[in-house]
Symmetry: C2
Subunit: 551 residues, 2 copies
């Protein structure tokens, strides 16, 4: 059986390696346009930053052997043809036309099964971009190598990043954090990581960027980019302009579907290749996976486009099993993400509140601020969570996390529950690994689920946003208020420590909406219980407390 | 409604706090024998070590208010009576008899619902123990405070820990790591953390203990302990003896069930109090939770005793909901653990292989060694995993983890899958949060599940134990072999790097059992595929590779 795989990063090599282990009989060839295959593309920003010293680390095995054509032939029994582009697919005759990019020679290659792992390309900017070496989309190794070389030569005093998605955020740390370059970041939406985080959670990422010296221009569209006589670049955006020595276009990626489309394969609603749960395209002899396909969203029930290295690798295994005759499904994705932004960890799984609304669901949200170890244990670090669930059913819809603390296990656990269609009470049943060096006795997910059930019983929770007009009750201790004042106006605010609240109820005005705040949320919740039991009816708490406004 | 709660740590205060939030009408009283309530008992070893400087940190809220009777009255609306012991329960008349330990006065207290949160006591040693201040069971605050005070005074040159369970391991770090005391640890089983880890995984903890200077005496029973004329202690064990200035008895705990038994409540098969899924005892007006009850093991289907602070807190919430009229189940536990042993993290969820065999199941195991970030990313740390699953069905049974890397998220995710009765293919479908600073593109759990499926297809995997008699094929690179030789004899061993294996097959003897080893496992797996495809039939790989023998 002859297998042709188009694309040499993630899905392609994974498909080839697994399939070659399953069968002795497959003749497997990977075609790759670039000269390198199987490089760790997700690691490129960390090479750009200098965190990873040698580029070779990204193209070698952990034991120092380059993952090149020779390696694939010797170790995996797979043929790799680089610098060769597949220019068309002849489905009727089951063959592809290949063009050698070095000498222009063309050849026909027959296949029994074809695998499209064509990946993604940078989104085309909606503004004119002059051709210049110091204006680049950041997707291919050469872009990152060029930046690193230029930065090492000290030629970048000022940089501009256009786009505040994953790569934009990762490159911001690479550019400003490690090379100390004066950096601005321009994003057309009103927030970083749009579509992934809701604004009160992206605010945590934005504060960290600002703390680290990045100048953010949010809600600003770029109109024009031009080269100045001195070689620097002038960027016009949102009615103003800035100059930079280097411009990083980080506008996201779109699936590379040209070959598939020309071959008449069915496209999905997102513009990526449509595949069934066995990762077959509309032609059952042609499989597709990785950044060129769309995925079934297990939370919303619709298709979405989620180009992630982790899914691309899992696709490879599923395609290989199916070609080998072991029927295996890829059931879909929930959208689990992690991204490091300087000293904070940011992550999400499932739908944001905005995405849930768009999907026609009825989301409710709760917020909390937590520590990743008990407060009494050394080096405990804080983080904030927002959880989204369905009104009525309590079905879990999404989790967003940001802060210095360990968010990874919460994202992973929540993701596991999401893909099983679990609800709030399932989350309360979750058994976490506990010991003081690692966790609190109740996991943050237990605490959030408990808060959601309190909300169902009538507790009102407002999002962690600065609110200057409301009437606030601060139930923290005097020393805390002195050391950490509220970041918004405190005109007419009342301060009564929780421990005194039952005995000072007469100080609180009746018939007025009372918003309660504490450091992280639990005291405000307890205060709300005390007030409601004392007959105050219009009471709300600030989700996540003052910590969520400071993380 | 009058609620009496017996026991003031974890389950008791949690029940009281949740119930007081649910209803304005409950009259809730906690009775506690000791003078302190609601202290963080799991934090005591870290106070003993000095990691936690002030004892007060363990009895205060995170905002500095002591969790005493006054706090519970003011903040929670709950009455706490300390230094008072409940000496009997009169179920017919629904009241208890309380004795004030300060003045000996006795009183009757009526209840509508009674909650037993009586906790656990140290296991009685099976050898004579003379009464002396420097020979102590480590369960109550006074024990840890006494050790800390004595250590601070420089009075402990040599210490002996008897028992290698959780507290024994935690105290070993406290004693030797932070106070630099010459320390021996005596454990009657042949391993540390018996019943929780299988021996090849506990070996990782044992190597770390030894590296850190602890002298381990495993498989040795203590026969006698006596005080020497100079005040030091002589311990006779396993045919030898040792002296120490301080002896820590860490033999585990057993449930405190005296009151419940005298009241005629039904006991479970483990000797702890039997409760139904609503945490009711055999008397429906009496609830019980925390370290005095047994739990349903969701993996084995039988009852087990698992005294954990995390479960105790979750029990409290469930009891409170049920008393408040919100029927809520506690569905059982899988046994998720974490314990820090010097610089390594150790954890488990579900059944060990030994426990699975005892439960009458048919377990199979796989092993792997991993890094918690890609090798190319700075500061990636290694760890080893053992996964146990059911032969035939592929149902997940257990996971064990040990090493410097981040094991927590794997334990939590595996625990989530265990409680849902999931199998290997569900684990392959797990979507983890991925970015190079946090994870590899394929999670270790994906890799282990893939290895288990390979085992189902005939790959033979042997446990990571030193094997001197087998015939070994080492497929690592020359440089790796030079820097990290195998820890066992290499007589007659063959060394062929994986990349050369296809071309040097004639060097490998036919008709002989070939055991393949590499650094972490994947290369040995690939080598086994190459050999089997070349007609070698008796081939096995060392699970986890040389890393699992060194972690």
């Amino acid at each position: 059986m002859k297998i042709i795989i188009i694309g040499g990063v993630a899905t392609g090599p994974k498909t080839a390696a697994v399939l070659a282990r399953r069968t002795n009989e497959a003749d497997i060839t990977i075609f790759q346009k670039e000269s390198q295959v199987s490089y760790a593309s997700c690691g490129l920003p960390y090479f750009a930053s200098g965190d990873i010293n040698q580029f070779e680390a990204l193209i070698q095995t952990s034991y120092g052997i380059p993952r090149d054509a020779d390696f694939f032939a010797r170790t995996k029994g797979v043929k790799v043809v680089t610098e060769t582009e597949i220019i068309s697919i002849d489905r009727k005759n089951k063959c592809v036309k290949a063009r050698n990019l070095k000498n222009g020679e063309e050849s026909r290659q027959a296949y029994d099964r074809l695998v499209l792992a064509t990946g993604a390309n940078p989104v085309r900017p909606p503004f004119p971009v002059p051709g210049a070496d110091n204006i680049r989309s950041f997707t291919r190794p050469d872009d990152f190598r060029h930046f690193r070389r230029t930065a090492e030569q000290g030629k970048i005093g000022r940089a501009a990043i256009i786009g505040g998605g994953f790569i934009g955020c990762e490159m911001a740390e690479a550019v400003a954090g490690l090379w100390g370059i004066e950096t601005i970041l321009i994003e057309k939406e009103n927030q970083l990581l749009p579509y992934i985080l809701d604004t009160e959670m992206s605010a945590i990422a934005e504060r960290e960027m600002t703390r680290q010296g990045i100048t953010l221009h949010l809600g600003k569209s770029v109109q024009n980019i031009e080269i100045c006589p001195d070689g620097s670049v002038k960027i016009d955006f949102g009615g103003t302009s800035a100059t930079a020595d280097y411009v990083l276009l980080c506008l996201g990626v779109r699936p590379e579907v040209g070959l598939a489309r020309e071959a008449g394969l069915e496209m999905g609603e997102t513009g990526a290749i449509k595949v069934n749960s066995y990762l077959q395209t509309s032609d059952p002899d042609i499989y597709a996976g990785g950044d060129c396909v769309e995925s079934y969203n297990m939370v919303s029930g619709s298709q979405f486009y989620i180009p992630m290295g982790s899914l691309a690798n899992r696709h490879g295994r599923v395609i290989a099993e199916n070609i080998a005759g072991n029927r295996t499904e890829f059931k879909g994705a929930v959208g689990a993400f992690l991204v490091k932004i300087f000293d904070i960890n940011v992550g999400a799984a499932g739908l944001s509140e905005q995405a849930a609304l768009k999907a026609g669901l009825h989301p409710l949200s709760v917020w909390g601020s937590f520590v990743d170890k008990p407060d009494y244990y050394p080096e405990s670090k804080s983080f904030s969570l927002k959880m989204i669930y369905e009104d009525g059913s309590g079905r879990l819809l999404g989790l967003q996390a940001a802060g210095q603390g360990d968010i990874c296990r919460r994202i992973d656990v929540y993701s596991s529950h999401l893909s099983g269609g679990k609800n709030l009470s399932d989350l309360l049943d979750f058994e976490h690994g506990y010991a003081p060096p690692y966790a609190e006795a109740l996991d943050p997910l237990h605490q959030l689920a408990g808060l959601a059930l309190a909300q169902e019983r009538g507790l009102e929770i407002i999002p962690p946003r600065n609110e200057t007009t409301a009437f606030w009750l601060d139930v923290r201790e005097k020393e805390e208020i002195a050391s950490t004042p509220l970041p918004f106006a405190d005109e007419g605010m009342i301060r009564i420590p929780l421990n005194d609240l039952r005995f000072r109820l007469e100080e609180i005005p009746r018939g007025k909406r009372i918003n309660i705040i504490c450091r992280r949320g639990p005291r405000a919740y307890q205060a709300a219980v005390i007030l409601r039991q004392a007959g105050f009816s219009d009471v709300a708490i600030l989700g996540g407390g003052i910590q969520a406004l400071r993380d």
